[in-house]
Structures are given as C-alpha cells and as structure tokens.
C-alpha cells in the first residue's frame, strides 16, 4: 500500500505529519517519529517574543552578575556554551537534518516584520526543508478593519517569500469573512500550502480563584469538522498544498481529511496521549482501511469527498444546514 504524498513539492513517505509541538524539542524524539512512519515533522514553534525575552533575560542576568563585585566576578559556570534564542532552535534543525531523512519543517511564530524575515532566513540556512509560519494574531482591537488584518497576513507571506527559497506553509485561523478568497490571495502572495487551522488559545475561567485558566487542552476528534469543511471546500479550487490539523486522534480522522482533500494530516495530541510509536498504528490503520476499500494509494481517494467531487455539492452549503435542522425537528 503506497502512502506517499507530496506536500509543497516535498516527497513524504506518509501523509501523517507531526505538527508543531514540544515533542520535537528532542532530536531523539524526531528520530523516533521517523522510525514510526511520520511523513515529516514540523518542529516546535520558534516564538519571536519568547526568544527576545530569553535573550534579554540572559543578558540582564549576565551583565547584572558579571564583574560587579570584587569577590564574585561571575556566578554561572558554562555560560560560554549557553545559547539562548535562535541558535538553540537552529541547532535543533541542524541536528535533526543530520539524523533523519524525512523533511524537517521549521515553525515560526513571529511578531515583528524584521523577526519574520530574519528567523525564516536563519531556518533556511540551518537546513529546514520548509517553513510553516504560524500567524497567531487575534484582532482584539475593535478599530482594526478586516482589510488591515488581511493585509497583515499577506504582507508577512510576501516578505518571507521574497527572502527564502524553500516552500512556505501558512497556518491560519478560520475566522476570515471570505475564507476561500483569502486562501486564494495567500496563494497569490506566494504561500505554498495552507495549514487548516490554528487553534487559538482560548481561555477558560477559574471561578473560585477568579483567574483566567492557562491550561492547554488537547484537541478532540469532534473538533475536526471546521477544518474538514474548509479542506473539502478548498480542494481543487486553489493551487496550494493543503494540510489539515486539529482533532486527529486516529487513522479515522486522517482518512476523513484526505477524503476531504488534504495532502497531509497533522497530529500532536494523539502522540501526547498514546506516545510517538502510535504513528505506526495510525499508518497501519490507514493502510488497512485503504486495503479494505481497495485503494492502492492516496491519490485514489484524496478529495473524493470534497465539495467539487461529491454528487451533491450543496451538502457543504446552506441547503445542507436546512436539511440538518429539519432532521433535528423530526
């Protein structure tokens, strides 16, 4: 059974890709991902502000404690070898590239114009096969217009594409007024793939402490519907690779996403829950399903359930909604 797929022109042995998460902070884990059949890995995100904060913190600590007092001219051994910020991240890319054959995709979560460009370039120089830009921007300012927000996305893509040669994927949120058109404009701005979707950090409240809860909850399979919808809608209508993420807990979600039209399917929470070797299980279940369905390769069923390929295209639109509501009534 052939699981090969192409993502932004990169050849992958499997459509299952590990999405950006802390598991990829260790090179040994990346090796294990490859051994268990991951098609590629998106490295944990490099957060520009975090790096800047770390750098500032390190510098403040170093300058505040070095050559300040006659008895103690320094405090910390081994600081010569201590790298904060980008170097550490780039070193991870280099190490991973040395040890595995699957594509390594850097993930960048920037905040400044300069940051997006600089860090993309550095990732490319370190050997990343592609970059996934994670545009985490909540337009909480009520004065921000739709077009301002959209331009922000498009500018970032254009700037990065002007500065690197490797493919660039955009991990975006679903909250655009005209999602389809936005996808097209991103394509025109130079994006090579869209990753659907970024799960924004959504706060919860602790009603006893009257505080905002900062815990992270893993995505659940029930959350696949929104990305599934948009994958199915966009498939065949844009000249972009499509990656689906969110809610992938087993091969079932992988299958659904590919049926909708995804080139690759990304998961992290299933690996947190079941361990990295679970990749092997997912690949096997995917193959078993393909075998049972008589599909030899992914092409045979990719997009089969997309809007353009199903018999009733309105199933994705308003008419289907009415049908569902009618069903509930009865």
């Amino acid at each position: 059974m052939n699981l090969q797929t192409s993502y932004m022109g990169l050849n992958l042995s499997s459509p299952i890709v590990v999405s950006a998460c802390t598991l990829s902070e260790k090179t040994d884990n990346i090796l294990m991902m490859e051994d268990n059949g991951a098609g590629a890995v998106v490295l944990f995100s490099l957060f520009e502000e975090q790096i800047k904060k770390e750098e500032a913190r390190f510098i403040a600590v170093q300058s505040g404690t070095t050559n300040t007092f006659a008895e103690a001219t320094d405090y910390f051994p081994g600081l010569d070898d201590f790298n904060v910020g980008t170097e550490e991240y780039l070193e991870n890319i280099r190490r991973a590239k040395e040890r595995v054959n699957m594509p390594i995709i850097g993930s960048l979560n920037g905040i400044t114009h300069e940051g997006w460009i600089d860090y993309s370039r550095l990732m490319e120089q370190a050997g990343a096969d592609a970059i996934e830009v994670n545009i985490f921007f909540i337009p909480g300012d009520v004065n921000l217009s739709t077009s301002h927000v959209e331009h922000r996305y498009l500018n970032i893509i254009e700037e990065i594409k002007n500065n690197v040669k490797i493919p660039v994927a955009v991990k975006l949120n679903p909250y655009f007024s005209a999602m389809g058109n936005m996808a097209l404009r991103m394509q025109n701005a130079g994006a090579n793939a869209l990753v659907l979707f970024n799960r924004f950090y959504q706060p919860d409240f602790d009603i006893n402490e009257l505080k905002i809860k900062t815990d992270l909850h893993y995505s659940e399979s029930s959350e696949i519907r929104l990305p599934l919808l948009w994958t199915a809608l966009l498939y065949g209508k844009v000249n972009l690779s499509l990656a689906a993420t969110t809610g992938v807990q087993s091969a079932i979600e992988v299958i659904k996403y590919i049926l909708a039209g995804s080139d690759v399917v990304m998961t992290a929470s299933s690996l947190y829950k079941n361990g990295i070797p679970y990749l092997k299980t997912m690949n096997k279940e995917l193959q078993d399903w393909m075998y049972s369905m008589g599909f030899d390769d992914l092409k045979a069923f990719r997009g089969n359930m997309s809007q353009q390929n199903i018999a009733d295209p309105t199933a994705y639109e308003r008419a289907n909604y009415i049908k569902i509501l009618e069903g509930v009534k009865s």
Partner: protein
C-alpha cells in the same frame, strides 16, 4: 618541541592555575577570595575534559572547608597522587595543622596562595602577606612570585623543586594585585611543562604512597625518647633545598630565557642603599631604583624569591658589598615582635654572616611595613624609603603609605613623585558594576594584548556595595612589559560611563595635561558643558582636556543592544585613545566581537557590529569656552546632622579618601558606631516607588518585602497633618473605630535600589489606572525634593508604641521600626527582608553573631553599616567572627547572657535590703513574653541602674555591669548555607545539641553567593553551580530533618515571598522557645539567574512545586502531647521543572547538556515527591511518634 611562543593576556590566578592544573592529578579546595578563581578554572577545565601532562583529567574536589581540603590533600598525597590546592587568608590558617604533617612527612606538593590579609580588627579580602607569614613555621618552603608572568612560571618551578626536594612549597603571589591583574604573558607549552617534571620523580612520589601490597605505617605517635631526633631528620632536605630551587630556576632559564634567582638583586652594582622586599612591590622598587640611579643615586633592590628555607649563603652572595644601609619591607604585621618576620630573618642572617666572617661589617638595618590590605605602594613611597636610608638615624619599625599620627611610625612621602610614564597609554574608566565596563575593559586588554605587539595591563577596583557598585578600571598599554603594580594617577584617557558621576566622583584629578575625557551623556555636545559642575569645567580648562561626548544609552537602544553600553564605550576608547590607529582598532574590535559571540549566532554579531558603527557616527568632540560657567560647590557627602564620627571618619571613606585618614582617627579595636548607612544617600536608582494612598489597602506587604527598609509605615493622630508639608501623603487608617487616625507610608527615595519587589507584592489595583498598583515605580528626580521634606516630617512622627501593636500579622509588623536599613545588598536581595524583620521584632534586645558571607558584607562592610538603633539608643549588637565558627561564636554570646543573668540575679538577691524587696522581686519574677511585659522590664532595669549608680559597694557596681541582662536577650546566629550546611555545620550541630537558647537563622540561597556561586550542600539536585557545572546529581541536605531528630530543637522552613505570615509566626515562635531553634529561610539570589523583581513569585513557585515545603517543628507542641510537625504549605501544585527552569542555574544545563538535564530533573522531581510523602506522613503522626521532651 615547537619554539613558537604563545601569548595570552590573563590574570595571575589563571596564570598559576594553568600550570598547577597540568602538573597535578588531584585538587581539593574550598573557595576563598581572592584565590577562588584558580580552583574554579581548574573545575571548568576538568568539566571540559582538559588533560594534564600525563593525559588524564585531574579530579577537582570542592570540600566543606579549607581544613577539609587540606585533609583531602594530605590523604591524596599519602596515597601517591600529585595533589595541589588553592587558598588564601584564614583558609590557609585552617590548613596549618595538616601542613605541619605534610611537611613533616617530606611530601612533595605545592599550595598556591593568593596572599591576603587576615581578619583581625576587621576582615579584609585584599592582599598582603599576613597569611603566608603565619604559615612560615609549618616546614613548607615559600616561593614568592611578583607578577602575572612569574605566577605562571613559579607554579612550574615550585612543582619541579618540590618533587626534587620532597619539601612542600607555598607558592604565593599578592592577592588582587597579582591574582586579579590582567597582564600579557608568555604561556608555557605542555612540552615545556613536561620537560621540567621528570617521570622518575613522579613515580618516586607515587611509590612513597601507602599501598597494602607493601604496607608500612606513617603517622605514628611518638614519645619524648625519639620525637626530637625524628624532627631533626629533615635537616638535610632543607639544607639541600636552596640549591635545588636554584638548579630548577637555571633549567627554567635555559628553557625559556627567563632568569630567576633565589635572591634577585637589581640596581647599582655599587649601591649604598638597598631595599629587601618580597611580592609585587618588588617590581615597583625595581622600577624606582632604575629611575633613582638614572638620576645619579646608588640604590638597589633585593627581591626575595625563596623565603623559606632562607639561604644565608645565597643571601649574602646577592648583596653588593658596597651597601651601607638596608630597609627591609614586610607586607605583614606581627604585633609585639622585635620586628616583622623578614626583617628578623635578614637581621639574624647578617649577624650570623658577620660572626662567621662572611661580611666585614653590619649594614644599617631598618624594617618597615607597607601595603597591608592592598594599600597602594607607589614609586613615591619607595623613594621615601630610600631617602630615609640616607639619614643618619633612619627610623626602624616604620610604616609607609599611611599617616601614623599616634606612634609616629610613618614616613612622609611626596605623592607627586612619579616615574617616567611617557611610554604608556593609561586609561581610567569609571562605571557601574552592572554596566559592563569592567567586562569591556578586560576584552580591550585581550584585543590589544593578543593581537598587537603592545603590552597590556588591567586592574579593576570595585567598591564595597553589591547594589549600584562603582568600578574603576585601570588600563595601561606600552611597548615594553608593564611592571607597575599600582593604580593610575595620571591618565591619558578618562571615561565616565555614567553621567551622574560628574557630580559625585572625582575623575579628572587623575587626568594628565591634554588628556582625553569621554562622557556618556544624555545631553548633546552643545549642551553637555552647561551640565557640568564648576569644578569639572575648571579642571577641563586648566588641564587642556579634550572632551568627547556620546549618548551611549540611546545608541545602545537604537542598535538593539538592550541598553548595554559596554561595546559602545569600548568602541569610543578604541576610536579616541590612539593606542592603535583608528581603522585598525575598529577592525580589531569587530574581530573580537566575532570571536566572542560566534556561538551566539550571526544575529548577535550583526547587532554588535551595528552598535560599533552607530558609535562612530554619534561620537562628538565638545567645543568649550575658556571660562568656567557653572557654580563651584562643595560636594556634601553627609548631612550636617550626622554624628561627629560620621562627619570626620565615615564621610571621608565615603568620599573615597579613606587612604588619607590618619591612625588617630581609627577605632583602636575595630569597634564602629551602629547605624551609619542612614547618612549615605546613595541614590542608586532613578526609579523609586510612589504610594497611592487612595488605592492602598494598608496590608503592609510592601514594607515587609522591601530588602532595604526603604518603605515604612506609621499611624498617627490627624493633628500631625496640621504641620505636614504640602504633598505629605496619608490616608485614614482602614481599621474601624479610629476616625482621627491616619496612616502614612513613606518611601526613603535616596536609599531605594528600584528593585520593584514592593510593586510586585502589592495586591491592590490603582483606582486611577487599572494597569497599576497602589504603589508604582516612577522617576525619582521630579519628586525628590518634595520627598526629602516628607521624609523629614515623617521621621518626626513618633514610631507607634510596640506594646500596642499586634505584630502577629504582616499588617501589624509594618508599624515596627526596622533596625536594619539601607544595606549595600543587591537590589531585590532575598536575604535582607528576614534580617529587617528580625530587627523589627527583637531589635532592641538582639545580639547577632553573623557568619562571614553576603550577610556579613552588606551587614558589616565599611564605610557604612546597616544595623542601627532606636530613639532610646537600643538596637542590635552585631559581630562577625569568622566563617566556620559562627555557631560557636553565637553560642558563646548565649552563654555570656545566661552567665551574666545568673550573676545579676545573685547580686540582686544579695542587695535585696539596699534595693528594696519589691524592686528585686518584681525584676526577678517579671514575665517577659509580651512586648508590654518587656517594655515594663526595660523600665524596671533602667530604674535599677539609676539606683545602682548612687551606690558604691562592689556588689552594686558588679550588678550595674550586668543588669542589662535582666531584660531577656535574644541571641541569633545568622549566616548563609555555605556556613550552615558546610564549613560551620559541625559547630551548628553542636549549638543545636547544646540545648541552649540560641536562634539560628540560615539565609539559604542554596549556593555560596558572596564568593561567586560555588556549590554548597544546600545546592539542589539538577541545578548548576561552580564545582557542579555538570548539574548537581546528589540531593540537597535536609538540615531541617537533621535538626528535628534532636527532638528539642524548634525548626522552621520559611519563604517570606510565599507565605509571609508563616515566616513571621516562625520567627516569633523560635524566639519564644526557650531552647535551640533553627530557621531555614529561602532566599532568592542573583546567583539563581533571573531578574530579582520576580523573586517573590519564584519563592512562591519554590513552595508550590514542593521544592521548598514550609514547615514548623515545635517541641512545645510535643510537650503538650500534640504532633509537633506542622506542614504549612499545601501539596505541590506545579511540576518542579516549571519552577526550576525560570532560573538560569537550572536552565543552563538544558542547553549545555540536555540529556543530563532531563535525567537530573526527573531525579530531582522524584526526590521532591519522596520528601513530600515523608513530610505528609510526619504531619499526620501522633505526638508519641516523636522524640519526647524531657
């Protein structure tokens, strides 16, 4: 063997350690300034796998004390390892017992000593020969090196000589002056080192080691029949030693071309006057001799290299027969002796030589002391000594460099006398400890020293404070080796890295005519002149100084340097100083940036390049008029209200003129007045807290956590507001039923360090701005003048009556007067809030025994000290003995208190008839638990004393001398974890076991903070520290549980940032308990590696993660048949890593060795879990499961 010379610019410590590391297999040490760096480097090299000349990595072992280090050295030597140690001062004193053994057993080893003063009337970390002179009777040979190059060379010569002779050697050089001076030197190659250490001697050394395969006994107990003879067996070895050292020096000369002699004479071959000296001062004498002889005098200097064994033969041979008079300069003091040690050696040797006919007549000999505690020793002083020798009756037992106006030992000298300095480019750089000035200058020396033919020298002077400390860097460059171990007084280049120094620091008095003055100024070139004081303007005009200005802070901000000005100021120096051609200089600085930051990535390098380019574009020469335009005003160092001692003595030290104070101004026995920090308005922070009375909930948290006692609260009747200055802030007190009572929080603006802890801890939100608190940092300048008036008024409002305050709560404790204030501790210090609280709770009857360490430095380092007094003149009586003995020292204080109390009671009973029964009974039966009871007892004792003063009988006089003990004394033994867990642990354990009423407060930073972050037994698992660079794998000692095992010890583990109420409770319980108590106080510290403004939340995390469970063990509960073990913190709610990785000490390992970091963190978490489980079990046990109280 390659003949290529390797040049390095390093300090004396590194120079010595470089060789010592390569010729040893074992090194056991204990950190002590100024020698610590040698051991730290050895540890660092070992961690990186650097090999010695036999291809193995030496085993570097940090011990619990120098005594422990010496024992380990002895053991390693006795089993055949080539072993060394590094130490200084009292550390060497702790090694003395073993040194006698090592020498008595003819064991080859070298102890490298950065020679330092001994603590006598006061501690000093600086350099002289008191320590090594105290070790001269041990049987160790003593070899003195005078410079950085010699420290390097003699480390090898000593090792080779010791192996050849079997006599152990102290190789010493001057602490700080040589140990910390950076100079250019030629490094010995490993081949060269190897060639001096023959295998057969190494093998012979090993073969002398204990070995069960061929056993023998060493270390016997000997009796009167043979001990004496046994002691004489070593004579031959000592007789042979000088010749051996001479041979080694000759071999060394053949190899390197550098010639050394046992007694090295330089100067006129027909000199009539000569100085004999040892250590770095020899270089100064040598250079001065050259100048004097060039001017037609006939002088010479004999530098003593091998001081023990003192070779008469070599000594006599080295002295020109023409010499008529000799001054022997000792850098030590032996009170009561006929002369200082070297003077006596010289005298005895010359008399011996005369008697043997080896010389025809005895020259005139005088001895003198110089340079104690790194006191400057300059060519001017040398000249004065030679001038003294010209006199018919020169002064014997003189001192030089001070003004002894009591016993008139001192020689006068002309400070204006200097040598020809025209070949040197001399630079002085005035900066702050935290602004990177010293680091940049060290870098400059490396750049010039290692990339050009120029020679370089750097020496760095720090002030005694840990927050806002000033630094002065002294840099010299020249075409020949720089032999000038004294400070620069005539600089070609002066840089002022902080603009406010213009008003505070005398800088241009050190400028040569035509010098360059660089100022980091927020004012542009056209404005800066008008911002200078008249004195500065006058100096600039008179000395024809070229002035340059740069706004380095803005350049740093614009070029993304995060406000760091060091690279910018360094670039200015390169551009202006003319040490190198400008283009060349900039090229070199960029090369150095690449080298320094290559591991940090291109982005950092680019940023620094940008800063360099930005600097050149923003550096301007200042055109100035030829007349002074600003007012000349005297700098007011202290308020006129300050007491006489502060006016006459303290203020002189504060102004940086302590060197000018004569002996008569010094207290004779090291006794100084309390409470002098209040006169030193240091103004170290531009940002200070501003209180919003409208928003404040008056909780007292800000006053509680303030490390510098800068925030104080009082409540008072509203009538006090009638005369209050306009703008004096107050609010109605928030307790019900007191409508006429007001509350005021006062910030002592000039004493604040801007640490931000008060803002962090404030629980209230500003009613004006939701993003702010009820206390917020703001610019100081606009509010300073008004603030001063407010403070003055606030001070006139009486402190609230202690007996009427409920200070069992944090809210109440804020109204207690702190008697520990404005210390020089780091901004945001995690230790001082505990001390302040201690002083608030028990200050007027408090005795403090303070172990050496951070707390003794910010607590007792002159010029000003923070322990102060209340309006009755009562306050903490504080003393520091040593590092290792503090528990015993404090126990002694307790015993005195008990003994004198007993005596006082006896006398009272004996004088019952004269004093009246009521008086006696009331005093003897007084309860002294509540503050009101203590207040009444104080009054009773005052009255008693008044009565006794009218009586003349001996018992009455005796009672008067001990009557103060009738008020319950509170004895506290204070120190850090280095003391409590390591060096002082034996004594601490004994004090706890004594059952006496001592209270021990351990300010636990989990590392040696004062000496620079060495690992202690309190250092937690998975943290890095010096000597645990690879992450500490062992567990942290549970001192609490050890103390609990006694059963009758009150024990608490507290963290004021996590639970201030529990801290308060524990301190009060400990003090109230009539027995030993131990409080382990979590103290966040700069050695943890994060911004201390987050200290409180990090304390909270320490508790929340289970790293620092809060507990109390109260024997009184056990006595009442209750469980004495109380767990005061809830179950851990966060993972250890979430606490730990906020701190660089843990985080660094995740970068340098992630796998080890991960494993250690897992292990550390397991330990936390286990500890918590055990504590929980204890907290749920029955009273009968614990040790019963007798």
């Amino acid at each position: 063997m390659s003949n290529k010379k390797t040049i390095a610019t390093i300090d004396g410590n590194e120079a010595a350690a470089y060789v010592a590391y390569r010729v040893n297999e074992v090194c056991a040490i204990y950190p002590i300034t100024p020698s610590s760096t040698m051991a730290e480097l050895a540890d660092e090299w070992a961690a990186k796998g650097t090999k010695n000349i036999w291809g193995s990595v030496p085993d570097i072992m940090e011990m619990q004390s120098e005594a422990g280090a010496a024992g380990t050295v002895h053991g390693a030597l006795q089993t055949g390892s080539l072993t060394t140690t590094f130490t200084a001062s009292q550390g060497l004193m702790l090694m003395l017992p073993n040194m006698y053994k090592i020498a008595g057993e003819l064991t080859a080893t070298v102890f490298h000593v950065a020679a330092r003063s001994l603590a006598a009337q006061g501690l000093s970390i600086f350099g002289d020969h008191q320590d090594v002179m105290a070790a001269r009777t041990t049987g160790f040979a003593m070899l003195s090196s005078v410079s950085v190059q010699e420290a390097h060379d003699f480390a090898l010569i000593a090792q080779a000589a010791s192996l050849r002779s079997r006599i152990p050697i102290i190789h010493f050089f001057d602490g700080f002056r040589t140990s910390h001076e950076v100079n250019k030197l030629e490094l010995l190659s490993d081949d060269q080192i190897r060639s001096m250490i023959p295998d057969d001697l190494v093998i012979a050394h090993r073969n002398r080691g204990l070995n069960p395969e061929s056993p023998f006994i060493r270390g016997t107990a000997q009796n009167p029949d043979i001990y004496f003879q046994g002691r004489e067996t070593v004579n031959t070895f000592y007789n042979n030693m000088p010749a051996i050292v001479e041979d080694v020096m000759k071999d060394f000369e053949k190899m390197t071309g550098r010639k050394y002699e046992l007694f090295q004479y330089t100067g006129a071959p027909d000199a009539d006057r000569m100085v004999i000296i040892m250590g770095s001062g020899g270089e100064t004498v040598d250079e001065t001799v050259n100048a004097l002889n060039a001017a037609g005098e006939k002088t010479g200097v004999l530098q003593v290299r091998l001081y023990r064994p003192f070779s008469l033969e070599h000594f006599i041979k080295a002295i020109p027969t023409s010499v008529k008079s000799i001054a022997i300069l000792d850098r030590t003091k032996e009170s009561g002796a006929a002369g200082e040690p070297m003077y006596q050696d010289v005298l005895a040797s010359l008399v011996d030589a005369l008697q043997q006919g080896k010389i025809k007549q005895l020259p005139r000999l005088i001895g003198g002391r110089y340079g104690l505690s790194s006191k400057e020793f300059t060519p001017a002083m040398v000249k004065a000594v030679f001038d003294e020798l010209k006199k018919e009756n020169p002064k014997n037992g003189f001192t030089i460099g001070i003004n002894d106006d009591v016993t008139f030992t001192s020689l006068e000298y002309d400070p204006a006398y200097t040598l020809d300095e025209s070949e040197w480019k001399q630079g002085l750089f005035f900066g702050l400890g935290a602004d990177g000035t010293v680091g940049a200058n060290k870098n400059t020396i490396k750049i010039i020293g290692e990339n050009t033919d120029l020679f370089a020298q750097g020496y760095f002077v720090y002030d005694s404070k840990k927050s806002g400390a000033r630094t002065v860097s002294h840099l010299r460059f020249g075409p020949k080796p720089i032999r000038a171990p004294y400070l620069i007084t005539r600089a070609d280049f002066i840089a002022c890295h902080q603009f406010n120094f213009i008003e505070k620091v005398e800088m241009l008095e050190f400028a040569k005519d035509g010098a360059t003055f660089l100022i980091n100024s927020p004012y542009p070139k056209d404005e800066v002149w008008s911002k200078m004081t008249g004195q500065v303007q006058k100096m600039i005009i008179d000395k024809h100084i070229k002035v340059y200005v740069i706004d380095a802070t803005t350049v740093a901000r614009d070029t993304g340097m995060n406000g760091r000005i060091n690279t910018i100021m360094q670039t200015c120096y390169f551009a202006l100083s003319g040490v190198l051609p400008r283009e060349d200089a900039i090229k070199q600085i960029k090369k150095a940036i690449e080298k320094t930051y290559f591991k940090k990535g291109q982005k950092v390098i680019d940023q620094n390049f940008k800063a360099v380019d930005g600097t050149l574009a923003n550096l301007y020469e200042v055109e100035y008029p030829k007349t002074v335009s600003a007012a000349v005003h005297e700098l007011l160092i202290v308020s006129k209200k300050a007491p006489a001692f502060v006016q006459e003595v303290t203020s002189v030290m504060m102004a940086g003129h302590g060197d000018e104070l004569p002996v008569s101004k010094m207290p004779i026995d090291g006794t100084y007045p309390s409470g002098t920090t209040q006169w030193e308005k240091r103004n170290v922070s531009d940002l200070v807290p501003v209180w919003e009375p409208e928003s404040c909930i008056q909780c007292g948290n800000c006053a509680y956590v303030c490390p510098h006692s800068v925030i104080r609260a009082k409540f008072f009747h509203e009538k006090f507001l009638e005369k209050a200055p306009e703008g004096f802030a107050s609010a109605p007190i928030n307790s019900r039923g007191f409508p006429e009572t007001k509350y005021s929080l006062q910030v002592y603006l000039e004493d604040c360090t801007g640490c931000n802890l008060c803002v962090e801890v404030c629980p209230a939100t500003s009613i004006f701005d939701g993003a702010k608190k009820a206390i917020n940092l703001a610019e100081k300048d606009p509010i300073l003048e008004q603030g001063k008036k407010n403070i003055e008024y606030f001070e006139n409002i009486p402190w609230n009556d202690r007996s009427k305050i409920d200070f069992s709560t944090v809210h109440g404790a804020q109204f207690l007067e702190p008697l520990f204030e404005f210390s020089g501790a780091c901004a945001g210090c995690g230790e001082t809030p505990y001390l302040k609280l201690l002083s608030q709770l028990f200050g007027d009857r408090l005795l403090v025994a303070n172990a050496t360490g951070c707390s003794s430095i910010y607590g007792g380092n002159l010029p000003t000290t923070p322990w102060t007094v209340n309006k009755e003149g009562r306050g903490p009586a504080w003393s520091n003995s040593l590092f290792e003995d503090n528990a015993e020292f404090g126990l002694g204080m307790r015993i005195t208190a008990d003994q004198q109390l007993h005596a006082a009671k006896q006398y009272l009973l004996g004088l019952k008839d004269e004093l009246g029964e009521n008086v006696v009974t009331e005093i003897l039966d007084a309860k002294q638990t509540l503050e009101s009871e203590l207040a009444v007892q104080h009054l009773r004792v005052q009255k008693l004393k008044e009565q006794l003063r009218t009586m003349t009988s001996s018992p009455a006089q005796h009672l008067l001398s001990v009557a103060d003990q009738l008020v319950r004394r509170s004895v506290w033994l204070v120190g850090g974890d280095g003391w409590a867990y390591d060096i002082g642990y034996g004594g601490l354990d004994h004090a706890l076991a004594s059952g006496r009423n001592v209270n021990i407060l351990v300010l636990d930073t989990e590392v040696y903070s004062n000496t620079g972050g060495q690992s202690s037994k309190s250092t937690p698992t998975a943290a890095t520290a010096k000597f645990a660079a690879g992450g500490k794998s062992g567990g942290k000692k549970d001192l609490a549980m050890q103390a609990i095992s006694y059963g009758n010890v009150y024990v608490a583990r507290v963290a004021f940032g996590a639970n201030p109420q529990q801290t308060l409770l524990a301190m009060r319980e400990a003090e109230a308990y009539d027995g030993p108590s131990l409080i382990l106080a979590y103290s966040h510290c700069i050695a943890h590696g994060y911004d201390l403004k987050d200290g409180l939340s990090q304390q909270n995390n320490a508790v929340a993660s289970g790293h620092w469970p809060l507990l109390r063990y109260n024997p009184m509960l056990r006595k009442k048949n209750q469980n004495p073990f109380v767990l005061d913190s809830p179950r851990p709610t966060m993972a250890l890593r979430d606490y730990a990785y906020n701190e660089l000490r843990y985080k660094v390992l995740t970068m340098t060795n992630p796998t080890v970091a991960e494993n250690l963190m897992k292990h550390a978490q397991d330990l936390v879990n286990l500890k918590w489980k055990n504590y929980e079990e204890l907290a749920t046990k029955k009273a009968s499961d614990f040790v019963p109280i007798a």
